[in-house]
């Protein structure tokens, strides 16, 4: 029975990794931009939530609703005024810019909040649990997974059922012809990054309430997110969820065998999937 429990906990952990990765997947899928500052933006959003919670005394979930438009604006502006300028045939400039951005965010956060590790208080929710059949699951991990599924459902709806989603896909296919349709690629990219930052805010909510964070932990979270995106197949949102769950399960299984193996097991699972399916589990057909 301990194995069932371990796998269930792994799936729940996978929800957190999928949330880390969903924004990354969204941005990459639309504009082929690899955002190396993604992890740091999650940490930035976590500090924003911390400030809102401690200054206004709001529940973290309500604080996330307040933070979402702020993060959307940050993402929109970041894309519009910085990243759009470096997007092009050469993939190196955006990598360098987002790498630099990562360093800047970490240092600004250290300057403002010191290197102490912090946590967003979530009251009794932190320890609440729910018996489901033979296993007991924490309410926060369960909410995390449900949020991840909700985020991916919402993004799928946006992509395949709305005019903006059609514009996203068309611009991703062919920005010049998209322009002939009246679409402004620069604005579409800015909207996409804005939406990615709303997802980042949701990721930050669970990152910040479930564990401690400090200004430098972004890059480590980014690695799990990358692995989830790549295992799932670049640009596939459901693939990203599957990728997150594979890494989560591998990590908890590894930890169950020997606590030292937790991180290693996740990376090994990543390499194993790449060995069998080099393009990931659900690669997009037309890449």
């Amino acid at each position: 029975m301990i194995w069932v429990d371990t796998i269930v906990q792994g799936i729940l952990l996978g929800g957190l990794y999928a949330l880390f990765a969903a924004g990354l997947s969204l941005v990459f899928g639309i504009m082929r931009l690899v955002n190396l500052a993604h992890g740091d933006l999650i940490v930035l959003a976590a500090y924003l939530l911390l400030v809102i919670v401690s200054m206004l005394g709001l529940n973290p979930f309500v604080a996330a609703l307040v933070a979402m438009p702020v993060m959307f604006a940050i993402g929109y502006g970041l894309q519009r005024f910085v990243l759009n300028r470096v997007l092009g045939a050469d993939i190196l400039p955006p990598l360098l810019v987002t790498f630099g951005l990562s360093v800047v965010i970490q240092n600004v956060l250290q300057e403002g909040f010191s290197a102490d590790s912090r946590r967003i208080p979530a009251g009794t929710l932190e320890t609440a649990s729910l018996p489901i059949g033979p296993v007991t699951v924490g309410l926060m991990p369960l909410l995390t997974l449900l949020s991840a599924i909700g985020v991916i459902l919402a993004l799928q709806w946006l992509f395949y059922r709305t005019s903006l989603g059609r514009a996203f896909r068309a611009t991703s296919d062919d920005p010049v012809t998209a322009g002939l349709m009246g679409i402004k690629p620069q604005r579409v990219f800015a909207q996409a990054t804005g939406i990615a930052m709303v997802v980042v805010t949701i990721a930050a909510l669970y990152l910040g309430t479930r564990s401690n964070f400090d200004p430098t932990i972004g890059p480590a979270r980014l690695i799990y997110a990358f692995e989830a995106v790549i295992i799932g197949g670049l640009g596939s949102l459901w693939g990203t969820l599957a990728g997150g769950i594979i890494i989560g399960v591998a990590q908890t299984l590894g930890a169950a065998i020997n606590p030292e193996w937790q991180i290693l097991a996740g990376h090994l699972a990543f390499l194993l999937v790449l060995l069998v399916r080099p393009r990931g589990l659900f690669p997009r057909a037309n890449d």
């Binding site: 005019s163 059609r166 068309a170 991703s172 002939l180 037309n286």
Partner: protein, 235 residues
């Protein structure tokens, strides 16, 4: 005043100059054909009209208003839409989504909507859920035309509609043109197929090496004059 006109239009790709002072005019309700050999500058001209290539503002006038420097997405909103060379359908979008995205900036008033396009090209309705690039070349061309019409343009620019298509398919495609004009669009077509161009156009411009070398109605242009304007005077 002409609906759409160019004044001394030039176009450059880096150091290479593709157009050397082109003056053309399109009147309301007219269908103008632009013919010429490969590399004559026909596509550069259409790309300048549609805003894919941006030029000096005064080089392109719509209702006398300078629009030469506007980007493609603003040009569409002003009522000029293009069927690009090679169709350029969006592979991630279904046939119906390809059509719908043509109306991205349109308010939805006008003759053309999904039903009108399906009415003109019924086979597209059967394939509406197929990905854009899963269709035959002729059907893709129909989608590209329908997509451009969805914005209810005042000016429709068609770049090489016949490219890579069988003669019987080309005939079907061109059979749609009278209906498009009837619905209110003025049309500029670029063609390598001179016979086809002379058949449908009210006026013809012939281009060579980035300049207009001949202009006239199909009736007044002799085969010989077109031949000279097309290939240059034989040595």
């Amino acid at each position: 005043m002409a609906l759409l006109e160019t004044h001394g239009l030039t176009a450059h790709y880096g150091d290479f100059q593709a157009l050397f002072g082109v003056d053309i005019r399109l009147d309301q309700g007219e269908c103008v054909a632009i013919i010429g050999a490969n590399g004559a500058g026909k596509s550069s001209l259409l790309r300048s009209l549609s805003g894919v290539l941006r030029q000096e503002p005064g080089m392109v006038l719509l209702d006398g208003r300078p629009i030469g420097a506007l980007p493609a997405d603003d040009i569409v909103a002003l009522g000029i839409s293009m069927v690009p060379e090679g169709r350029r359908l969006f592979p991630s979008l279904s046939v119906e989504e390809n059509l719908m995205i043509g109306a991205y900036r349109s308010s939805g008033n006008g003759a053309w909507d999904l039903d009108a396009v399906y009415g003109m090209f019924p086979m597209l309705k059967e394939r509406r859920t197929a990905p854009g690039n899963a269709l035959s070349g002729g059907q893709q061309q129909m989608v590209a035309i329908g997509r451009a019409l969805m914005s209810n343009p005042r000016v429709l620019l068609c770049d090489e509609l016949s490219l890579g298509l069988a003669p019987v398919i080309i005939r079907d495609i061109y059979a749609a043109l009278p209906r498009i004009r009837q619905a209110g669009a003025s049309v500029i077509i670029v063609e390598q197929d001179i016979g086809q161009a002379l058949k449908v156009a009210d006026r013809v411009y012939c281009m060579m090496e980035g300049k207009v070398t001949l202009e006239g109605t199909p009736e007044e242009l002799s085969r010989d004059a077109i031949h000279k304007a097309y290939f240059g005077v034989a040595a």
